[in-house]
Symmetry: C2
Subunit: 248 residues, 2 copies
């Protein structure tokens, strides 16, 4: 079937499956299916059990908690090439988040069985899976660090620098990968606070904002900015530490 072939091709393009032999890819393809979601559609709910995991071919998926009071906290925004649900699949426990398409999206669903078979036949793949989960864990730990010991301004700056992703110096222009609300939630901020922080960074000349388009004229300068009230120096308290080595 051309549909099956299509899936095969999509799978083969994914970094995760790069080193698999054709026969194994074909095997995986048999355990996979395509999913199309339209913007706003919910893929699965918190509490669901997953018998497989998902890869984003196109579009954008939001992973989030919802509290009984209707509050919502975005944990992750997954774009093309990204995947989610592996951990829940391996764990065989209810999923702690729900997932929703932020745009019309095209996913692949890959059933557990295919992955288990691949692991059995290819220990390099097993290691790759382990490394993948490890990366996920690492990211989450970074988030915890961020939430625990950085101010909201620092979190926003960190996020912007990540988007700029020319790690060190120079300038950069890019688009926010989602609506400001969603990003605010991802950063554990209210939309109001996020807006104000962008405004103040803008005022300080560290960035310019036009809709979703952000320009950072001097990445180094942005990364150095801790928090200091530029104009008014009424309260001249100086709790700042000069130990600036934020590079990991």
């Amino acid at each position: 079937m051309s549909k099956q072939l299509n899936i095969t091709r999509l799978l083969a393009d994914l970094p995760l499956f790069q080193q698999l032999r054709d026969s194994e890819i074909a095997q995986l393809a048999m355990e996979s299916r395509e999913i199309k979601l339209s913007k706003g559609q919910i893929l699965f709910q918190k509490g669901d059990l997953l018998e497989g995991f998902y890869v984003v071919v196109e579009g954008q998926i939001k992973l989030a908690f919802s509290s009984p009071q209707g509050q919502e906290k975005v944990v992750s925004i997954v774009g093309p090439g990204g995947s989610f649900g592996e951990a829940v699949m391996f764990m065989e426990k209810p999923c702690p988040v729900f997932t929703q398409a932020l745009e019309d999206s095209h996913l692949l669903y890959i059933a557990k069985r295919g992955i288990f078979t691949a692991i059995e036949h290819d220990s390099v793949f097993a290691r790759r899976m382990l490394a993948g989960l490890s990366m996920r864990l690492h990211g989450l730990i970074q988030d915890v660090e961020d939430y625990s010991l950085h101010s909201s301004t620092q979190r926003v700056i960190g996020f912007l620098l990540q988007l700029a992703d020319k790690p060190t110096k120079g300038h950069a222009t890019f688009e926010l990968p989602a609506s400001k609300q969603v990003i605010a939630s991802r950063l554990n901020l209210t939309p109001e606070t996020f807006s104000r922080i962008l405004h103040s960074l803008s005022q300080a000349g560290l960035i310019t904002v036009k809709g979703k388009r952000i320009t950072v004229p001097d990445i180094t300068r942005l990364s150095r900015f801790d928090h200091a009230p530029p104009p008014c120096a009424k309260n001249a308290q100086a709790p700042l530490s000069e130990a600036q080595t934020p590079l990991e």
Copy 2:
């Protein structure tokens, strides 16, 4: 020689290695060594690369970030049977946390090579490793949920309920697993706030506190406290998305 045997026995007792064949355990033992730490000793620093991971045989190890300003945030407290460092090992990136013994401790260090060999020879073990990492990830996601959308009182209650670990009803008595400072940090609280919360729960008759010893006379009542106090309850909010019709 008897040392090697000792390690073999310790490994065989760990849940993670339960299903391995003796020959595989023996192989792992050859790649392992014992580590003794005294209270307060640092095992490794943030930024270190790990060529293996650690299992706690006895004692207690703290995983934490430290900020340049000397603040510290405890990410995890690992007791006997627990392990840490797997993710960093698989990822081959610098470790984001440092580790310190909270008590005199006895660990096993297991080198990467042994694990890779085990994965190669036993895909069930590979799956177990994957499930283990997945559980770790799950825990971290729980933490993020906690930090993001629960109040400090709710976090403390959640923590106490976890320690009580008779999930549903009845009463319980237990000891806090570490000093109140450390637990406060683990919960993203200052010691002062933690103390005040314990005090107020105590005042409310929900717990009694005597040093590290906590008694919960009615688990159900404790778990209900602080869960749904806000005024309007009927406000089931739709998720953050454009494609949802708002109520009213």
